[in-house]
């Protein structure tokens, strides 16, 4: 019987927590954007005229097909992260795309229409050098892969290896390129630095070495970047130091050295310090490349040259020009060149490759985004028009990873912001009030100027409000008549305003490339973007909201701290998060590396919170640093504490602010690095509210929570990684006093540790190396049955250590990230949001992670609604908040409260971005969508009339009785 009750309790509790999205709610308040990353290879499908496919391979190890008309994804394959999934080469022929993955580990062929894998071949080990399609008699049949010491030929239709041959003298010669002109031979080109070039000739059928020769080339430093094969097997190289071009016919036996052509004879000169680049084109792998090629002499100087009868002749000089690219359609090959027009625009023109003549009416004007970066890649899609002239479209990639697809005469067909594939940090900011609300607010903000003007102003603002309300009513009425799908509110930066429940917010996202985005959380529309130039890769970003939208007429203010990874030197960028405009506030110079930042609740006269920056000499810089702020800082200095973490020495230290903005060391904890190293330190979120101070137990007594806002969770991992001796250390340290509140070790455990620290609990996930599984552990801190000081919490006055309860559970899945939901007042029960590597986001009720879950069920535990302990954590499919909208490579989850207590806004970012709302305790403060208003109002009216009538009847009856 007891077991039945237990089961009943479990199922009831599950019923209570179970919540999933209904089918008709899909896409109503959630959206997903999919990204691909920085494009490394892009190929247009020129197989058929109507084809819309654009194949791309990116630095995020993504191989995808885009619709070139809309920019949407047809399909996308996300490979492993890191070098294992790195895409080395992308080749395309007809319907097949051949990809070399993982430094030449795998060779794959994809069907481009639906993105299905046709075949996969595992290659021999060896670092990848080059890959090329090989054609025989106008028909491409093979693909050749060049490794450091071997070359292999594979059949294009089946992937089977035709032959593999070792390269001669591969320990001294660096082989870097393959060339085949479709005449039954494969040339492998290698070189010995500063000595000679080696050319090996293979027969396609069996891999027999036909010829091998070496040619003197003492100036050679790299084959790959400075050489190209043009015009029926002529090797062409360019050298900066000798300012010369060198040519060599690959097949002829008599040439033993390269012919030198001084650039001076062509009236050309390579810019000093610039490595010249040769660009040739081979439209069909089964035929030799064209005789025309581009030579880039400086970052903005290209020249189109032609090799004819062993002579090099310039066809057209493009000075200045940013980018140049070849494209082929049918038999015609064209060259597109981007030249600067003025400060904000570039023009792209088409030239015929064989003559260098400009095609008429082919100009595309490309407007550069003033908040974006410079264009750095140009991909051209040429096609034949009905009148047999060549039309084209271009895709431009800029430094800030924006892909822009343009067509004549400069219309932007689509745009993709690929910087968003690498979001580093984000914040959500409330939207500003509407104009009328702001008007009313402004009235209170201003100084009074007489009675009559005040009355008039009040009347006028009331009138404006009335007007706005009427307009709103009219709009509601108007919209109600239209079908629901056609009502679409376009969000623009001008129509931004806060909604009734503050569900729509501005997402400020910082990406690794240094581009900032402002995205509307309701629709996912990018409202503003700002590219910060000169940001070093791998910089550390910290985004701080200094002033929220609540202080009209002061605009909200965000501050981004950008820290160089190597030097630690930082800089501040202050901007308005709603409009993305850079603020004109003077920012302090930071000449020394910044160790720590601290946002104080102290506000200046403009309602901006004070940001303290601590440098490596423990000096404090305040921002803003007005007189008012400094005065306030002096007053509160003795209660401003901060901590520093030096994980290389295992040292945690606490400092206190002094009046003169210097600091003093007050505590020190040293965790020896020989035993364990600190991997993460996390405090609690500053905007978190805890509604209840304690938990009501089964016997009606209260167990008070230990709610220390200064508590830090420090996670360490052992240096010993043997599976029996490795451990994960958990330290709970008070950030003010340095007191170690709790110290625990999880034995036989290993990282990576993910954890959430909130309220009075800490949840962490680790890898159990003994049982080889992921485990969750929850720590809860309680003060006990009595509070020490119920009015205020002070770290300096809390002598009794808290009671610590802990329990662990098995989690039957690997996890990528962990976060907890957050609501306005903290009344709603908490859920944990678990990002799984599969791309699903699991909303796990905190109820299941409760160290008070009893082993044996009792009357009291039932009273408290505790679920009996079970070692394994359940995963229910209805807990996946993103149903089938998986998020690739989840990096982080951001949660923000909304105006509704039941609702928490969630943004998941990784390769994709997903935004949704979660209702951990269901929508207790919202009427359902299908709420029956008619029924409830008819019942109400019915009851009302019934009372009226019965009252009348009762009166009549009373009167009659009185008469009797």
């Amino acid at each position: 019987m007891a077991w039945l009750v237990v089961r009943l309790a479990i199922s009831l509790s599950l019923l209570y927590t179970a919540s999933a999205v209904f089918e008709d709610q899909v896409g109503k308040f959630d959206w997903r954007e999919q990204f691909i990353g920085k494009v490394r290879f892009a190929l247009f499908d020129t197989h058929s005229q109507a084809s819309k496919k654009l194949l791309v391979a990116t630095d995020k190890n993504v191989f995808a097909s885009l619709n070139s008309r809309t920019g949407d994804l047809f399909w996308r394959h996300v490979d492993k992260t890191g070098p294992e999934g790195h895409i080395d080469a992308l080749l395309m022929y007809g319907q097949d795309a051949v990809v070399v993955v993982g430094n030449g580990r795998l060779l794959r062929s994809w069907e481009t229409t639906v993105g299905g894998l046709k075949w996969e071949a595992v290659l021999d080990t060896g670092s990848f050098q080059a890959a090329a399609l090989i054609g025989v008699q106008d028909f491409v049949k093979y693909v050749a892969v060049l490794k450091k010491s071997a070359i292999s030929l594979h059949d294009l239709s089946s992937g089977s290896q035709i032959w593999v041959e070792n390269l001669p003298d591969s320990d001294t010669v660096q082989y870097q390129t393959i060339y085949s002109g479709g005449n039954g031979l494969v040339f492998v080109l290698g070189f010995v630095p500063s000595s000679h070039i080696v050319i090996v000739e293979y027969k396609i059928e069996d891999g027999e070495i036909m010829k091998k020769k070496s040619v003197e080339a003492a100036w050679m430093s790299s084959l790959e970047n400075s050489c190209a094969v043009i015009s029926s097997g002529n090797l062409l190289c360019v050298d900066q130091t000798t300012q010369s071009l060198y040519t060599l016919p690959l097949q002829s036996a008599e040439h033993t050295e390269m012919r030198q052509i001084h650039l001076q004879t062509l009236d050309l000169e390579v810019a000093s310090g610039f490595q010249p680049v040769l660009t040739s084109t081979q439209p069909n792998p089964a035929q030799p490349p064209l005789a025309e090629f581009f030579l880039q002499l400086s970052p903005d100087h290209h020249i189109l040259l032609q090799l004819k009868d062993d002579l090099i002749a310039p066809l057209r000089d493009f000075n200045p020009s940013y980018l140049a690219a070849f494209a082929t359609s049918g038999e015609k090959t064209v060259a597109a060149v981007m030249t600067p027009k003025n400060d904000t625009a570039c023009s792209i023109n088409l030239f015929s490759a064989d003559t260098g003549r400009r095609h008429l009416d082919t100009t595309i004007i490309y407007h550069m985004d003033p908040n974006g970066g410079k264009p750095n890649r140009l991909y051209v899609h040429a096609f034949l028009k009905k009148d047999d002239s060549v039309g084209y479209r271009v895709m431009v990639q800029t430094e800030d990873l924006t892909l822009t697809f343009l067509q004549q005469p400069g219309r932007v067909v689509w745009m993709r912001e690929e910087a968003l594939a690498d979001v580093v940090t984000m914040e959500m900011v409330d939207l500003p009030l509407t104009g009328t609300q702001a008007e009313l607010e402004g009235e209170f903000g201003k100084k009074a100027d007489g009675l009559l003007p005040m009355v008039l102003k009040r009347l006028s603002s009331q009138f404006i409000l009335l007007q706005a309300w009427m307009a709103h009513l009219w709009k509601l009425f108007y919209d109600a008549r239209k079908p629901r799908s056609s009502v679409k509110n376009e969000v623009t930066i001008d129509t931004l305003s806060r909604d009734e429940f503050n569900l729509q917010k501005m997402m400020v996202m910082v990406t690794a490339s240094g581009k900032l985005f402002g995205i509307d959380s309701k629709s996912g529309t990018v409202l503003w973007k700002q590219y910060l130039e000169d940001i070093k890769p791998d910089s550390i970003f910290k985004l701080i909201v200094q002033r929220t939208t609540a202080h009209f007429p002061h605009p909200p203010q965000c501050t981004l701290l950008i820290k160089d990874k190597d030097t630690g030197l930082g800089s501040l960028y202050v901007f308005n998060p709603i409009f993305g405009k850079k603020s004109h506030i003077s920012v302090p110079a930071l000449p020394r590396p910044v160790l720590q930042t601290l946002l104080l609740p102290v506000i200046d006269q403009d309602y901006a919170k004070v940001l303290l920056l601590i440098d490596d000499q423990y000096k404090v810089t305040a921002f803003p640093s007005t007189k008012n702020v400094l005065q306030q800082l002096q007053d509160t200095a003795s209660s401003v504490f901060f901590y520093l973490v030096d994980s290389s020495q295992g040292k945690l230290s606490g400092f206190r602010l002094r009046m003169d903005l210097s600091t003093e060391l007050i505590w020190e904890v040293v965790i020896p690095t020989e035993v364990q190293k600190i991997v993460a330190v996390k405090g609690k979120r500053a905007n978190e509210h805890v509604h209840s101070q304690g938990r009501v137990m089964g016997d009606r007594s209260v167990l008070y929570k230990y709610l220390n806002p200064n508590l830090l969770a420090v996670i360490t991992e052992s240096t010993d990684i043997h599976q029996e001796r490795s451990f994960v250390g958990i330290f709970l340290i008070d950030g003010v006093t340095g007191r170690i509140v709790h110290e625990a070790v999880q034995r036989k455990a290993r990282g990576p540790v993910h954890f959430v620290h909130s309220e009075n609990w800490l949840v962490y996930v680790y890898w159990n190396s003994k049982f080889r599984r992921n485990e969750f552990s929850v720590l809860e801190l309680f003060e006990g049955a009595e509070l020490y000081n119920s009015t205020v919490f002070s770290s300096l006055d809390r002598p009794h250590p808290p009671q610590v309860l802990q329990q662990s559970y098995i989690f039957p899945a690997p996890i990528s990230t962990l976060e907890a939901t957050l609501t306005e007042k903290g009344i709603t029960s908490r859920h944990l949001l678990v990002g799984l590597p599969s791309g699903s986001i699991l909303s796990l009720p905190k109820m299941f992670l409760d160290p008070r879950r009893p082993e044996l069920i009792s009357e009291q535990s039932r009273e408290e609604n505790l679920i009996p302990y079970a070692p394994e954590m359940p995963i229910r499919t209805e807990w996946f908040i993103n149903y089938n909208q998986t998020v690739s490579r989840v990096r982080g989850i951001y949660t923000a409260p909304s105006g509704l207590e039941s609702t928490c806004l969630v943004v998941v970012y990784g390769l994709d971005i997903y935004q949704t709302r979660v209702f951990p305790s269901k929508q207790f403060d919202v009427l359902k969508d299908d709420y029956d208003y008619v029924l409830i109002s008819s019942v109400l009216f019915g009851l009302f009339f019934a009372t009226m009538i019965s009252k009348r009847l009762a009166e009549v009856k009373l009167l009659n009785r009185a008469w009797r």
């Binding site: 019987m1 077991w3 003795s638 003093e664 060391l665 007050i666 505590w667 020190e668 904890v669 040293v670 965790i671 020896p672 035993v675 364990q676 451990f727 250390g729 958990i730 340290i733 006093t737 340095g738 007191r739 170690i740 709790h742 110290e743 625990a744 070790v745 999880q746 034995r747 159990n768 485990e775 552990s777 720590l779 000081n789 300096l796 006055d797 809390r798 002598p799 610590v804 802990q806 329990q807 662990s808 559970y809 098995i810 082993e855 044996l856 302990y869 079970a870 070692p871 394994e872 029956d932 029924l935």
Partner: protein, 259 residues
């Protein structure tokens, strides 16, 4: 050289301790005197230093010596000086300006065998507000935290009570002797998922079920003999009164649809 220094350090500390005993003949951590005398010096000791200055620049002086006993249960014992007249006055002055009372110990390993191999470098420090120490009449609780291999990683000091209410401490005697509770805390081993007891419990349930099938039967299985005739009876009566039953069913369906 290093070993000599350690040796001399230990010697000096020991001499202080012995000096203390001869002077005061009392130990302040609640142990009986005889207990202390019985102690053999198989353990080792480290100095506990404190600092309380008006200008808040730490100048550490010796407060006492922490005597660790080797062995399993990290026993610790603190022998400490009385506060001198001058110290008492400084303490009161520091408390008046809300200064800090700091303590520190060198970084050591509590495992005796490691003592010789590693010379401590640096200190670990903690603080408490001087006023709370004064108001609590020098009643403090010092906790030393160690890591898994016995290295001291942190020290904490709290006073009981911990508040600063501005109560004037008149009696000089209250500030003479520390009333210290000292302990060493090693990390607790965090629990792992308890599968074995759970499985055991499940087995017990199953066993119970197997032993006493009558009791474990479900409600329906137990009372089917009553339910089936009832249902049959209802169906029969429903068939007889077709029109009334149909109307009722229709009403039911209507209600269901309304929800």
């Amino acid at each position: 050289m290093a070993t000599i220094r350690v040796f001399s350090l230990i010697l000096s500390v020991l001499s202080i301790i012995t000096l203390l005993w001869t002077q005061s003949g009392e130990c302040n951590n609640g142990r009986r005197l005889g207990d202390a005398v019985d102690t053999d010096f198989s353990g080792f000791s480290v100095p506990l230093e404190h600092s309380f200055e008006i200008d808040d620049v730490p100048r550490f002086r010796l407060r006492g010596a922490l005597q660790f006993r080797g062995g399993r249960e990290n026993g610790v014992y603190l022998a400490q000086n009385q506060l001198s007249e001058k110290d008492r006055n400084t303490m009161k002055d520091v408390a008046a300006v809300d200064g800090l009372y700091r303590i520190r110990v060198p970084r050591v390993s509590l495992q005796v065998d490691r003592q010789t191999e590693k010379q401590s470098e640096g200190y670990i420090t903690a603080f408490v507000r001087a006023c709370s120490l004064v108001e609590s009449h020098l009643s403090d609780v010092i906790t030393l935290h160690t890591d898994v291999s016995g290295n001291v990683i942190g020290i904490s000091i709290v006073t009981i009570p911990g508040s600063c209410r501005g109560i004037e401490v008149e009696d000089e005697v209250d500030l003479e002797v520390f009333n210290t509770t000292i302990s060493v805390v090693a990390p607790v081993t965090a629990p792992v998922p308890e599968t074995a007891p759970y499985i055991e419990r499940m087995d017990q349930e199953m066993e119970k079920k197997g032993k006493n099938p009558q009791e474990q039967k479900s409600f329906f299985a137990k009372y089917w003999m009553y339910i089936v005739p009832l249902v049959l009876f209802l169906m029969m009566s429903g068939a007889q009164d077709q029109s009334g039953g149909g109307g009722g069913a229709g009403g039911g369906a209507g209600n269901g649809g309304g929800r």
